[in-house]
Subunit: 416 residues, 2 copies
């Protein structure tokens, strides 16, 4: 083949696109139920915006453009950054809280040989303007509702919830200094062995006593079991407690987990990740509070919380659980003119136009023989075929053949 799909990118053929639309429409319906409004941002942003939040290292992962003028531009790699920019542009006039969602495409540069996706879709949700735990609880509820609307149950997935103030307070309390590096290690704890975990912390110069205490605290299952916390940790504990209270109707889906740190430096309060129960896949969704970003982007401080659900990983779980509906991509009628005659073709066309008012209708575009037309009608999953010839022109009556059960029915064309 002379031309190929770019590595790490995917072509969306009809079956795949139907599944995508099913997921996207489900997300859209659920978000709208909660009063979120749909927005979209350009694919292209200034490189200075894209790299502001996560610093220089993210530039490696951005698809950047060749400069044709003075502009330094790149493709967005998440939805939170552009949504924050859009919020700031109207921050003064918009009633707070602002509740937005976006179903959009984004890109991350990866070397092609890795075989990882370089173009992907997310359902992104943000609330700007509320610093209350109810806001965090609401977006977690929205995730749970969305997953349930797709057919998943509490047996299939759960939400691990933590709080960065709580975790940071605990690390402070243990006298640990290089908190963001340690949080990155904590984030990996589920993926690495106990020995590797200890080794990584040793590399970060934690003492054996610190490691032992940290290891023990991270295994705490109940938020209330955490005692003797410093002020920052107590603040985090209170926030988290409030989130759990607001989620009491969804108890079966949520779980306190101190190891959820969300490596990226910008999270400030509640953080969460969604996983399949069997732990087969990477996180299905993730998010949390980022109260400092709006200020970092040069505007008036404003609390914010949000999440992103990736379509790709969730799609794998839905497929495994056989929850993806068979795509309904056939037509209801196929109209088959059997003669290359103006009157016959005109009648076939008239019938198609008439039926299209309430049906999906295909009609021959190849001037093929009847057997070939039936073959095509079967391949495109037509439910019924109407054959049109000179006789039908004369009588005004057609035979409708049902391809599913083979039955035939005669009808006046006017009554179709």
């Amino acid at each position: 083949m002379k031309f190929q799909t770019v590595k790490g990118m995917k072509d969306w053929y009809p079956e795949d696109r139907a599944t995508f639309n099913w997921m996207a429409n489900t997300f859209r319906q659920q978000a709208v139920k909660y009063g979120f409004l749909e927005v979209e941002s350009p694919a292209i942003e200034s490189l200075s915006l894209l790299s502001e939040k996560e610093g220089e290292e993210i530039k490696q992962q951005i698809f950047t453009f060749e400069k044709k003028g003075s502009e330094q531009l790149g493709l967005r790699f998440d939805l939170t950054v552009p949504m924050a920019r859009m919020f700031i542009a109207k921050q003064k006039e918009l009633p707070k809280p602002v509740k937005w969602f976006n179903i959009g495409r984004m890109w991350r540069y990866e070397a092609p040989q890795k075989g990882r996706l370089r173009e992907f879709y997310q359902f992104g949700v943000e609330i700007f303007g509320s610093d209350k735990p109810e806001a965090d609880a609401q977006i977690i509820s929205l995730i749970i509702d969305s997953f349930q609307a797709l057919g998943l149950t509490s047996k299939d997935f759960y939400v691990k919830i933590n709080n960065r103030n709580l975790l940071q307070g605990i690390l402070d309390g243990l006298g640990i200094g290089n908190i963001s590096e340690v949080m990155t290690v904590i984030d990996k704890v589920a993926k690495i062995s106990e020995e590797e975990f200890v080794a990584e912390l040793e590399k970060l110069k934690l003492t054996q006593a610190q490691i032992k205490k940290l290891d023990s605290i991270l295994k705490t299952k109940e938020l209330k079991q955490l005692k003797d916390l410093n002020e920052l940790a107590r603040q985090g504990q209170w926030e988290l407690q409030s989130v759990f209270e607001a989620l009491q109707d969804n108890q079966a889906f949520v779980q306190f987990d101190l190891t959820v740190a969300r490596g990226l430096a910008y999270y400030t309060g509640t953080v969460f990740e969604v996983y399949d129960r069997e732990g087969k896949y990477r996180a299905l969704a993730g998010g949390g509070r980022y109260d400092n970003m709006i200020q970092l982007f040069g505007s008036e401080p404003c609390a914010a919380t949000g999440f992103g659900i990736g379509f790709a990983t969730l799609g794998l779980l839905l497929e495994e659980k056989m929850l993806i509906p068979a795509p309904d991509i056939g037509v209801d009628y196929y109209v088959a003119p059997i003669k290359d005659d103006p009157k016959v073709m005109a009648l076939a066309n008239t019938i198609a136009v008439q039926l299209r008012k309430t049906n999906r209708v295909d009609v021959d575009l190849m001037r093929r023989s009847l057997p070939k037309q039936f073959d095509y009608a079967n391949k495109i999953k037509a439910k019924k075929v109407i054959v049109v010839g000179e006789n039908e022109v004369k009588t005004g009556v057609v035979t409708i053949k049902n391809l599913e059960d083979g039955k035939e029915e005669k009808k006046k064309i006017k009554e179709l």
Copy 2:
């Protein structure tokens, strides 16, 4: 403002996005009615694919990426090229004709000071595998149906149809050699004066006799008036005649126009453009037959026809004609807890969850006073407000206030 939208790009705030979704869903419904299936391709393609069809000059207009490995990549600038690539990848297995549509985003590099859009959406439709005029007629019907479904009538728009074989045959017949340059001038005839037209043709070394004859022929209003045609022109005339016959139910929308040439070199047969009747805007849509592209892309020859409708220009016409529906982006209920009390907040939440089964429901996330909550409810266009306090917790009865007419109604919470 520290960060801005990149010039030539647009942020889609909720009202705009609602309009976009209305247009996209209308296109989707109409395409599905005709048996077209939805597909999507990556935003990013190899530069060799993108520049294959239109040659080096198009590279100026492509957003190209900085090379991180050996790949030369760019953003797609239309939908036909990626769809042709996708078709070729499954050309052998797919039943012909293949009928696809795509509602997608694309990009064209323009210097920012021009103020033209650099990111835009199109509704793209392609039929691969049929060389028959019925295929061209079908996609023109789909455009007409789509425009009508958006509320436009034959008083608002029309489709100018021509045929490249007819035009080329006529130019051949006049002894004109540099056909593609001359076609580019013909394409501009509606936009330039008679004098400019003559001057441009003189520059291309046409004789006065050729110019005079051409000018007269281009004004032909009826296809049948064209006489003494050579074989190529007669072939085009027959194709065009067949297209018009297949479109006889849509006579009010279509018009023969020899000046529609579609500058791009790849069109082969029927070509068409859609314009507003008053001639205020650029083409609302355009397309035609491109029977050579699949072969040019290195595959087995395959006939193809298609079109693209741009959202931006069409949006201007719809706005002018006041056809864009008011976006329904409010909520049905706003639930207002009036006390920062766990029981009150829990009840407010329970009510919101219950109502969300069939409604769009927002609930306070700010712990604000009641007047501030009403102010917010009004601003987000809530239809009804339910106030929840200790009394409601005790009685299980709430008052529903209709913000549109001010009326109040009491209801048991269970019966909401």
